[in-house]
Symmetry: C2
Subunit: 653 residues, 2 copies
């Protein structure tokens, strides 16, 4: 409800901002960005570019009052005349009334389809010897007497040593505070919960008492594997005694509202309270997922004694509250790549407050723990076959190698395939066109929409398939330009040059045509070009050819949707026999899960991180050459794509 | 200022309590103790017995309103009639007006005389090789490049290893958060502050980064040695680079208002918020002393990176917030005797938040870190001479031994010599009679008063001297009974039996006679008897006699005031040649100071704690026998006190 206040004076360095249609009112300093005022008023504005004024998604209508704008190419002259402004680029100069257009909602649930993508992982029977770092030990202790008046802690240590062979136990103040009472209330029969250490985390110095529980509570032991993706967060609730994944939950990363890609988030983190705000957002998402798992499975938060966390380096730093600024600036230096164990309380995770949080190690600024965990769960570090492992998400990270060596790189692919930077791009939720076919005669498209509803936009797999179909049918040429001479109203010239209409306005849920423009196509080609250049350089830098790659393992939630055939047709994937490709699902969270079950595997991840060589592409001329060559469909070097050439000849003949 | 409210209804389960003369008003639940209501209103009431209703010091006058009292021997029938109640034993039943009599003020400063007692320690030049556990290392780091893109933390580790030979450095989240910015702002020239570990604290696992500072800040390094006495707290500010004590400050322990001895504090800690309240009180005292030292010496709190803390086991547990309940209950079990390192932030000490707090190890419930530290600074653990070390404070702790063995015991001497449990007893502050002489002809006393003002009471050394003089001159007999036949108005029968008037009302600052009663004398004899019985049992239990003791080392602030001659006359100390006695001052804080300067000495304290055998006297029949024998002046066995016997013959002949 709005509360329209009457000001007694108009001379002030503050301004009142009224937001319509919600009616929310807030007073801010003159000079405050409209987007900041909205944040203070708890109004969610999408800032996919992190507030850089580049995406144009945060348009608001200034109905009344003084606002100072920076010029922006994202506003048409008409829009400017009507009073529109980009909230992230305009500042309050006095009392203002703003109207916030209905925007693409920041989706709060993962589409059912997205959940299906990880079906492979659930239920998973763990096949390695179980050896979690969390140990639960039941001890019966002789009560003290005048003859044996050892202190409570030494008495516990003595019995853990005698009954379970555990030496050098340490303890923190919070558990020490409840030790005396717990021992006596439990009649000297207690369960000691220990972080046994894994020899892999850098601050590991032996068994540490996490909790002391009355009676025998060794029958259950829970942990969490957490994957903090730039886009999606996934949490596995695991049973450390049986090696089973009990349940899982996933949700979009709450940070999306502050930027869709890593760079936008880093930029956002540098503004005022930005870093702390981003940390709070991801913790809110994760703690929400934990609440969901805890309530659905009838356990209590304090029964979870460990969380193993994976994610790219920026996500890990934001999770820990470490300033990610220097990840973005050359020479791209993270604060730490093997983070030390912290308590759940320090990390802000709502599990047992003294439980340990283990952030898995990464390799560098752009090859993080998600990749080392992925390499672990992909098994590529144990195989003799020359393997290319790709995690195609907002970043394109890839690793080439086998049991003997591992070479990694990252190319800033950008979020084009995740729906950002493309006019009608969207994430793979209900209303997204996920697959498209174009009839080579008449160029009419047919498509499949997630949820079987009128379409609202096109998701990543839809764009791969659209691009491939347009190229194969000749709607676009090899440079991505629309053929304007085709006998169809679907191709036309719009505000941004040539475009192809995928869905007419009347058939959509948004009331206007869903199109793909030449600008969009250029973005998509740059993205696929960067990925192709990445693995080309990897392979060439060890003196091999792409054809030598014996298997291509595709991880990451998005990887699951890639239609191999279409991806090869646009030159996103190399033209190899299809049986060399294998989908692995969310390799990152699986790696974290494995390392919860086995200290050996946890040590393997550290080993993988240490073994992996990182190739910095931004300083590599070969990358630039490869990138430029890949800016065609499927590639400048058509000889590298024999199957696509064959198909072209067949279709166009 | 008071705010007298008008109640609209008298039917309520709350009551308003008005305190006069301050006029403070507070609303409390019906059933609240008057003492709790006072605490909530921030009115300081003395509760020397911890609110057990035993000392009678918290008398208040109920001027109006319903109050429910428990019967108490501490109120005379007249007082009860007048409306007096013990605040700790009476509860609010409705709206009440109370008058709080002017009480003995809770003294907020240590008497100048008390400061003098530790003169020996200041300035102290440390003579051992300096080797503090806090290390400050200046490092110049090569800035990162694309060719050398090691993370910030690994880069720092690498240089600390290369330039200073430090391996396996660990780091906590708070310092990690500022690492990237500090390194760059300081142009890659920084000072790393490390807790190097001493191999003595149980959670010691190698060098730990406490702070990272711009530029070269290795020229200064500060630490604190803190002695938490039951009565007095003392803090030394030390220079870890030169081994000097820079300054010191002392103050009464703020917990005194909740009980004067350990047992009273433990009882207080069991009530409601008692434990947390006691912890806050001692932290307030300590942080006040730190503020004083910091401001007087022009340094900043965050420049202090370590505090080493000593005190008896109960004081250490209260400082750490550990429930001391089982220290009091048989079989007297502390939670821990070798506490683990905690950060200053966890401990609540206002120094560098990541600085380490090292609580020195004790032996058991009643032989704490003050004694192990005292044994260290007394050097008795290195001598061949049979040594008796005594720390005479609110508890009587003592250690017998030499370089080969150490045997300790504690006898609950009680606070009689510290002014509690004696009608006109008081602490050694201005107005205290500290020495008394009685003329054997006429039995008129002369006395010396601290501060040369009219007397308000008698402090511990005054009581020793009074007891000795009364005994030697025959005012009392060997069982402590007043000779009522003496030709002097100074001896008479009062409310509590026989008494001796030390000062007539007109000569005092309190307006009535200062006396010592037979009840007081009995208390004092029990106290000295317990101490004497303690060291007798120690000596006999190893098959030796008191005469075999080659030196008696007296530690503790109070020890400083004991007049050896008089103490022997009453049988508080054994009748040995005076040159065998040596005063050491505050051995506890000195031990903590030494262990800050030298990791070797810190390890020695752990060694001392492990070597020391604790003799539990409460279960020892020999102690009871010795105690009963010592309940005479100087002792049942007069042959043990030849010098006193000789004097008696001389004086009374």
């Amino acid at each position: 409800m709005g509360l329209y206040r009457v000001r007694s004076s108009t001379i002030s360095d503050k301004g009142i901002v009224v937001f319509k249609p919600s009616g929310k009112v807030i007073e801010v300093e003159v000079g405050t960005l409209l987007s900041e005022a909205a944040a203070q008023a708890n109004i969610e504005l999408n800032l996919p570019c992190g507030g850089q004024g580049r995406c144009g998604r945060c348009k608001v209508l200034v109905e009344h009052g003084p606002v100072s704008r920076r010029p922006s190419a994202k506003l048409s002259p008409t829009e400017e005349e009507e009073g529109y402004a980009l909230a992230c680029q305009a500042v309050v100069k006095g009392d203002v009334i703003l109207s916030v257009p209905e925007q693409e909602k920041i989706e709060r649930r993962i589409a059912e389809e997205a959940k299906g993508a990880e079906r492979i992982a659930l239920p998973l029977e763990f096949e390695w010897p179980l050896d979690p770092s969390i140990g639960k030990f039941f001890v019966t202790i002789e009560p003290p007497s005048l003859e044996d008046n050892t202190t409570d802690f030494d008495r516990l240590r003595r019995e853990l040593k005698a009954q379970h062979g555990i030496s050098d136990l340490t303890i923190g103040l919070p558990i020490l505070k409840k030790l005396a009472t717990t021992l006596r209330d439990a009649d000297w029969q207690v369960t000691a919960v220990l972080e046994m250490g894994d020899g892999a985390s850098a601050n590991n110095c032996g068994p540490y008492l996490i909790d002391i529980l009355p009676g025998d509570q060794t029958a259950q032991s829970f942990g969490l594997a957490i994957d903090i993706g730039t886009t999606s967060n996934v949490v596995h609730l695991v049973d450390l005694l049986s090696g089973r994944i009990i349940d899982r939950a996933s949700e979009y990363n709450g940070q999306i509202s502050c930027g869709e890609d890593i760079i936008s988030r880093i930029i956002y983190s540098q503004k005022g309270d930005g870093l702390a705000h981003l940390q709070r957002l991801v913790l809110k998402t994760l703690n929400g997922l934990i609440d969901e798992l805890v309530s659905r499975n009838g356990i209590r938060h304090q029964e979870i004694h460990k969380a193993t966390v994976t994610g790219n380096t920026t996500m890990i730093q934001l999770f820990l509250g470490l300033n990610p600024r220097y990840i973005r600036e050359e020479p791209y230096i993270p604060t730490i790549s093997h983070p030390l164990l912290v308590t759940a309380e320090e990390a802000g995770l709502n599990i047992n407050s003294q439980g340990t949080v283990d952030c898995l190690p990464g390799v560098g600024a752009y090859v993080g723990a998600d990749i080392t965990a992925g390499v672990l769960s992909s098994d590529m570090y144990k195989t003799d076959a020359l393997t290319l492992f790709m995690d195609v998400g907002t970043n394109g990270e890839m690793v080439l190698g086998n049991a003997d060596w591992l070479l990694a790189c990252a190319c800033s692919a950008g979020p084009a395939f995740e729906g950002s930077g493309v006019r009608h791009g969207m994430r793979a939720t209900a209303g997204a066109i996920e697959e498209i076919w174009i009839n080579p005669e008449g160029y009419e498209p047919t498509y499949r929409v997630i949820g079987n509803v009128p379409p609202r936009g096109i998701c990543g797999s839809g764009m791969i398939s659209l691009l491939a179909e347009m190229f194969i049918t000749g709607v676009i040429d090899k440079s991505g330009k629309i053929n304007r001479d085709l006998p169809t109203p679907r191709t036309r010239v719009g505000d941004h040059g040539g475009e192809y209409v995928v869905a007419w306005a009347a058939k959509t849920a948004i009331g206007h045509d869903i199109v793909i423009t030449e600008v969009d196509i250029e973005n998509l080609i740059r993205t696929k070009g960067a990925i192709y250049a990445g693995f080309s350089v990897l392979v060439h830098s060890v003196g091999l050819e792409l054809a030598d790659v014996e298997q291509v393992l595709i991880g990451g939630a998005f990887g699951q949707y890639i239609n191999i055939e279409k991806a090869i047709q646009i030159g996103l994937l190399p033209d190899l026999p299809w049986d060399r490709f294998k989908y692995l699902g969310n390799t990152s969270v699986l790696g974290a899960t494995y390392s919860l079950f086995s200290r050996d595997l946890r040590r393997e991840i550290t080993e993988i991180a240490n073994r992996m060589t990182y190739l910095e592409l931004s300083a590599d001329n070969r990358f630039m050459d490869q990138f430029v060559s890949a800016l065609f469909l499927p590639h400048t070097d058509t000889a590298s794509f024999p199957s696509v050439m064959k198909l072209l000849i067949k279709v166009r003949s």
